[in-house]
Amino acid sequence: MLLLKNLRLGSHPGGRHGIAGGESRDAIGYAVAALNRLARSDLLDRMGLRKQTEHAVFTLTRGGFRTATSAGRVFARAGKRGRAGHRAPHAPSREVFDLTPTDDEQMLVDVVTELATEIVRPAAIDADAACAAPTEVLRAADEIGLPLLGVPESLGGVSEERAVLAGTLVAEALARGDLGLAVAALAPGAVATAIATWGTDEQQQTYLPAFTDPGADAGVPAASLALTEPRALFDALDPQTTARRDGDALVLDGVKSMVPRGAAAELFVVGARVLGGRGDPPGGANVLVIVEAGTAGLSVEADPAMGVRAASLTTLTLDGVRVPESQVLGAVDGTTYAECVRLSRIAWCALSVGVGQAVLDYVTPYVKERQAFGEPIAHRQSVAFMVADIAIELQAMRLLTWKAAGRAAAGQDVARDVALARRLCAEKGMQIGLDGVQLLGGHGFVKEHPVERWYRDLRAISIMEGGVLV
């Protein structure tokens, strides 16, 4: 009975299983759908026809399990509400065209490259399958101070000035190991950087100590910058998550997707459109809001995707979440929000460059060793030219990303630079992912080689908003 009822309800199959809305079921369709349902029911199990598999209470490898966000540590209020926070000064404007990183930046890149090679890459395949980053990878990233990269010394961090370039170089180096793990490792830093860059004294004193001085047991908290929303043609500057003013509080409603480590996160920075205040522009303005995990109305659901799986992607639902007005991070006129979107896009571009480099590094020896027709396939122009184009476009991606990062560090307007970098990295990055698999042929299609993972990961670049930040 129940089965039939369910089926009838489902006579318009559109909207689920990737079926478009116009489809309808006919007789054969009903019969097949019923079979499918039976196959999935526990009837077979009770009859002992199928081995039972265990489900974890919260599994990251498939969707559908919703839970409250993890109520972690208590962030003790500190600092002065309304007083401006510390700010890292902008890097000085450079007068000379130069492609040489500073000594400090190079040292950082060397350390992160070693981490990426020795620890991240070997862990990547299992992390991809498990949709989770191993503790030792996250701990290693915390130990070398990655979450503090965007936090100035005056706030207990490591940078003397806006470290956009250092962050860009680090993201690139880390993603050369693995994109998913890089996103997982950099996610807390995105929140720390946002609070260090735009926070009030109160926000900085309340939240940054957890990152700068977490204590041996607790470790750096998982945290996540949530900007993406689940719909076609999503425009980051047009979020449908709302922050309604209600007295001294903001009430948040909406859904955020592709939120890295959302189930473990103790702190979120959420993008929303603020509405209803007297001073707000008509139609509202985009803002960032700090939301502590465990706040009533907040729930999280695993949302594994095509790639970036090691980042434990989740969907974050905000249902009447009340936070004090003082939790707004930065300006309420939309400028902080727009800046945050741009800086996050630079980080994604840097990640794509790292993955692209991984592809080039991998296919280069492969095509020289793989024999066909009595010689290495690299001796054929159709193969060699593919590699040449990867090298050319990859370097172009890198230069555009560096240019945007350098200008952002110096406090210049980067809307156009970021758009161009993102466009090139999205298009050419995906092409590199495609060609990486193609160059290995059938071997590229199986998980014995990492190129299929990079193919899945590189599709993310033009889609992701937030999650990482420089």
Binding site: L233, A236, K368, A378, A384, I392, L400, A415, L424
Partner: protein, 406 residues
Amino acid sequence: MISLDDPQKLRPLRDQAHQVAMNMLRPISRTYDRAEHTYPQELDLLAAMIDGLSESGASSGAGASGVKRDETQDDDSGAAVRNGANLASVMGIAEMCWGDVGLLLSLPRQGLGNSAIASVGTAAQQERFAGLWASMAITEPDAGSDSASIRTTAVLDGDAYVLNGEKIFVTSGERSDAVVVWATLDRNLGRPAIKSFVVPKGTPGMSVERLEDKLGIRASDTATIRFEDCRVPPDHLLGSPEIDTGQGFAGAMATFDNTRPLVAAMAVGCAQAALDLTRDLLAQAGVVIDYDRPAMAQSAAAAKLLQMEADWEAARLLMLQAAWMADNRRANALEASMAKAKAGRMASDVTLSCVELCGSVGYSEGELLEKWARDSKILDIFEGTQQIQQLIVARRVLGLSSAELR
């Protein structure tokens, strides 16, 4: 310290070149596109002005003679980062080609032969040939991209080399004062035996046979030159006369490391002209890019414009990178080829797409868009075709020899 903005000290030069291009080249651009083979006399004045600027030290790099690889200076690694003649050249040339590629190529004393002299000539030769307008003669009827298989010979006979052979596609071959000719000292010894010779106009045995009618860059003359027992003094051989088999093709090919970023600059300039005008025309049609919003959520025209701007910026930064490396005396053969490959294909896509976006306005001779779409094609061909650049990049990236990857 990483920074990819245009260097501050070269911005005045860039802006100057832009003004020259706008006020001197654009007004005569269509005229000499129509009047192919007619010498643009306006360029004499411009060339004199550029000479004056170079002598005063106020600037360099409006033309191809600006490139230099000064090996005499100390190569101390601690030295400051240089933004020098190579960067100035690519930035200046890009602006001039925003004006008109064909006219830039016709500029007296700024020929690609001048780049060859600057690249491989000895100090004494550079001094002797200073002020000369030199064009470049490499291609032959049966040897284009495969420049190692040229048949023009140079045989030492007493006090002179005797040249015999036919060269085609010599840019400004008729107008220039001299031609830098590639010839082989011994066809059996392959690439290392290929040397370049400066042959002044009027040398007996050298004759300009024909001028080509072309798709684009029609302001620039393209000549066929024949050498019949043409005798040139031994010191007109650029660089060393030794046939160094260990060095391979490197000697003559070093020219290309310097000239390829210049051709990339031409492509960047030509494409920018098309982009600038198209952006304007699209704005009149109500299409403006919003850089913060996803391209897919804007009009197809805006999305195409964004993609073209991204590719253009990519080519320009690769061009600047190649020139910056030369300024800082780093080997840049790979980066020079990357820049030319990207810029060449970018310019074709951009100029052709701009014609399409602008419809009949783009296709008509009433605007210059159709001209730029014709001019740009050669930039993906001369100084090494797209495919030759891919071959060079592939060999370097894969670490394969020319025997392995042919």
